[in-house]
Amino acid sequence: MGTAAESGFREATEVPTGRLGMWWFLASELVIFGGLIATYLLFRWRHPEWGAESVHTINAAGAFNTLVLLTSSLTMVLAHAAVERGDLARAVRNLSFTFLGGVIFLVVKVYEYTHEIQEGFTPLTNLFWSFYYGMTGLHALHVVGGMVAMMVVRSAVAKGRDPQRVEFVGLYWHFVDVVWIFLFPLLYLSS
């Protein structure tokens, strides 16, 4: 999609068309999570007793995952910076680190789900857990989506094609990161 410039399309605003498209895409994603978070907040205010439920989430795991995602955002920025300098090998390496961050995040999340379900907190236990699994699950799907996109971009950049896409997939990855920054306190810490 970053091929717009190569195929001779005009960029009337001097903003790369791919970046423009990505921002609008993120805007559409923002309102999906925004709607979900607003819905959760309205319920949360009506149910102060949910505080007792969120005690059973694993704060340490959530905090560790926050750190993992923030670090992966850092390597993403480094990848973008490497592209700017024209150092594609370094960009590819940093994309791999970012991908690894996604893997670690998902492994921890799977551990959490397993632990919680064994403790008897399933998506059907009550509405708090429905929200917990629904929101973190949708977020995890976005992490997976971001990782797939990252792999596609990585293999292209490794062959020296479309390096500008590192920036676009980076924007998306930061967005996924920011969503988690909201989910972590709302679901884990709000006891």
């Binding site: 999609m1 717009a4 001779g8 399309f9 005009r10 960029e11 009337a12 605003t13 903003v15 068309t17 423009l20 498209g21 609008w24 895409f25 805007a27 559409s28 994603e29 923002l30 309102v31 999906i32 999570f33 925004g34 709607g35 979900l36 607003a38 819905t39 309205l42 319920f43 149910h47 998506p123 059907l124 009550n126 509405l127 429905s130 629904g134 949708l138």
Partner: protein
């Protein structure tokens, strides 16, 4: 026809006609799918109307209809007409065809995303059509799919109907998000040299506004639909009061999208009118910037009116007044647009060609739809009118103008550009008058029925003693005669298209002597649209400019050296 493109770039049949990335081909794909679904939706309304005029009698071509079937028909009629006719035709087909041509671009910003958008849409169409044939039948909870009716299989009559409905709608939303991102990005970045934002034809403004409104309003409903799907499939209780959930929540999420959606459909219809009125009045559009600003204000206000759909749903009564006020407020920018259109006609040299007839018809019919909206926007009167035929008449008077009249106006106007042939003008005039008369015959009686307290969504009105009067039966029969004749009148349009595609007069590049860039391309335009990249020197509506022998001034015509302006 499209073979012009095939000659220029010899590509396989599959690439040219099926998995094409050419915006014009994708527009035609959306158009054909939308028209096909329009026929399906029209046939459903035929069954509905026949049942209402002769409750319980066997309907020719269908048979006797039961309550569950009736609910499914009403649900699917609404769903199809909004999501699978209005959206693909007014947004996807028109925006795809016109945006690149009008701004002087070779194609969309993301051609492959564009192709994907259509095929996801196509998949959603298949899923929706399949839902007619699953055990328990299609979704029957209304086009709004409120829980609890849609919440569990026990209420919705079957497990599959509503589940497939949700899946189809979700896919459709994904398709239009991809399309919308494309439209917005294209209009921002791919404008021809010299074309500033305020040189864009209003159609482009309207399409971009519609895409932005859609993009910002649909998210919460996607989240809401996801929760509903979890309720149905996993057994969570987001909308089930027994589990601590709240069914009203879905209404909020639905209408937070559902009301802006009205403007998503209306604005492209207005765009069509804005292009046609100046051409057939030979006058610049009245208040170009005013219309743009009014469109933006309409878009913003459309996000804070949604609860007027829920005045009797048990929302906090203190919310009723603020939402009544915002609802009345939104009629101000819409009226600004309408009055600007009417002022465009003032002292113009008006030519009543077929596109113009349908454009004027849109204004006339929409006026009645808009005025009756005030009765429904104010809580005090809405409590009486809610869920009566007054509502049915009202939203058909607001949506038929952009969707049907707007589509026909656009067809008669841009058909020569799209297919390189003129449509038959005399047939078009007959088509207009029949459509206009029978549309009113169908829906005017329904206002009266609503005044009389006739509820909607009931399969056998005669079941209720108050509705067993000769007057009710007479009005219902009038509406049914109108609807059947309205459907039959459309044969004229299809006959016209079928005949003109082969025998129609060959179209010149600019048969209407219009200014905008699409008319500088050959009819039909080939692959890449423009032989030489256009440069824009002026706005789109400079008709009858002083000091010029012709009464139009194309956007790309270089000013003569030495001449004043």
């Amino acid at each position: 026809m499209t073979t012009a493109a095939a000659h220029a770039h010899p590509e396989s049949f599959l690439r040219t006609y099926v998995f094409s990335t050419d915006h014009k081909t994708i527009a035609k794909q959306y158009l054909v799918t939308g028209i096909f679904m329009g026929i399906v939706g029209g046939l459903l309304s035929y069954v509905i109307r026949m049942q209402l005029a002769n409750p319980g009698q066997s309907i020719p071509g269908y048979g006797v209809i039961g309550p569950q079937q009736y609910n499914a028909l009403v649900t699917m009629h609404g769903t199809i007409m909004i999501f699978w006719v209005a959206m693909p035709i007014l947004l996807a087909a028109l925006a795809n065809f016109l945006i690149p041509l009008m701004i002087g671009a070779k194609d969309m910003a993301f051609p492959r995303l564009n192709m994907m958008s259509f095929w996801v849409f196509f998949l959603s169409t298949v899923v929706l059509l399949v839902s007619f044939f699953v055990p328990g039948g299609a979704a029957a909870g209304g086009w709004t799919s409120y829980p609890p009716l849609s919440g569990t299989a026990a209420y919705s009559g079957g497990q599959w109907g509503v589940t497939l409905w949700l899946l189809a709608v979700a896919l459709e939303f994904v398709a239009f998000l991809m399309g919308g991102i494309n439209f917005i990005t294209t209009a921002i970045n791919l404008r021809a040299p010299g074309m500033r934002l305020f040189d864009m034809p209003l159609m482009v403004w309207m399409q971009v506004a519609a895409a932005v409104i859609f993009l910002f309003s649909v998210g919460p409903l996607i989240a809401g639909a996801l929760l509903l799907l979890l309720d149905r499939l996993a057994g969570t209780g987001f909308y089930a009061p027994a589990a601590g959930g709240d069914p009203i929540l879905f209404q909020h999420l639905f209408w937070f999208f559902g009301h802006p959606e009205v403007y998503v459909i209306l604005l492209p219809g207005f765009g069509v009118i804005a292009e046609i009125l100046p051409v057939f009045s030979r006058k610049p559009i009245f208040g170009y910037r005013m219309i743009v600003y009014a469109t933006i204000i309409t878009g913003i206000l459309s996000f804070i009116v949604w609860a007027h759909h829920q005045f009797i749903a048990g929302i906090d009564p203190r919310l009723a007044t603020p939402f009544s006020i915002t609802t009345i407020l939104i009629s101000v920018p819409v009226a600004v647009i309408l009055f600007s259109f009417i002022a465009t006609l003032y002292r113009g040299s008006i030519e009543l060609a077929s596109p113009m007839l349908f454009a004027l018809g849109t204004l006339a019919v929409f006026l009645l739809g808009g005025v009756t909206g005030i009765h429904l926007g104010v809580a005090a009167t809405d409590i009486y009118f809610h869920d009566t035929y007054f509502v049915v008449a009202h939203f058909h008077y607001t949506l038929i103008p952009p969707v049907a009249f707007g589509f026909f106006a656009a067809s008669y106007f841009w058909f020569p550009k799209m297919f390189g042939r003129m449509l038959n003008e005399r047939l078009a005039h007959v088509h207009f008058w029949l459509t206009f008369v029978f549309m009113n015959l169908t829906f005017l009686p329904q206002f009266k029925l609503g005044f009389m307290g006739h509820q909607r969504r009931i399969v056998t009105p005669t079941f209720f003693e108050a509705l067993r009067t000769p007057e009710v039966e007479q009005l219902q029969s009038m509406a049914t005669v109108g609807a059947v004749c309205l459907l039959l009148s459309q044969i004229l349009f299809f006959a016209n298209v079928a005949w003109s595609l082969r025998r129609g007069e060959k179209a010149a590049p600019n048969p209407w002597r219009a200014n905008t860039l699409e008319w500088t391309t050959p009819s039909p335009p080939g692959h890449g649209n423009f032989d030489t990249a256009p440069v824009v020197y002026r706005g789109p509506y400079e008709y009858s400019p002083p000091g010029r022998s012709e009464d139009w001034f194309p956007q790309n015509l270089a000013p003569e050296k030495g001449a004043g302006s």
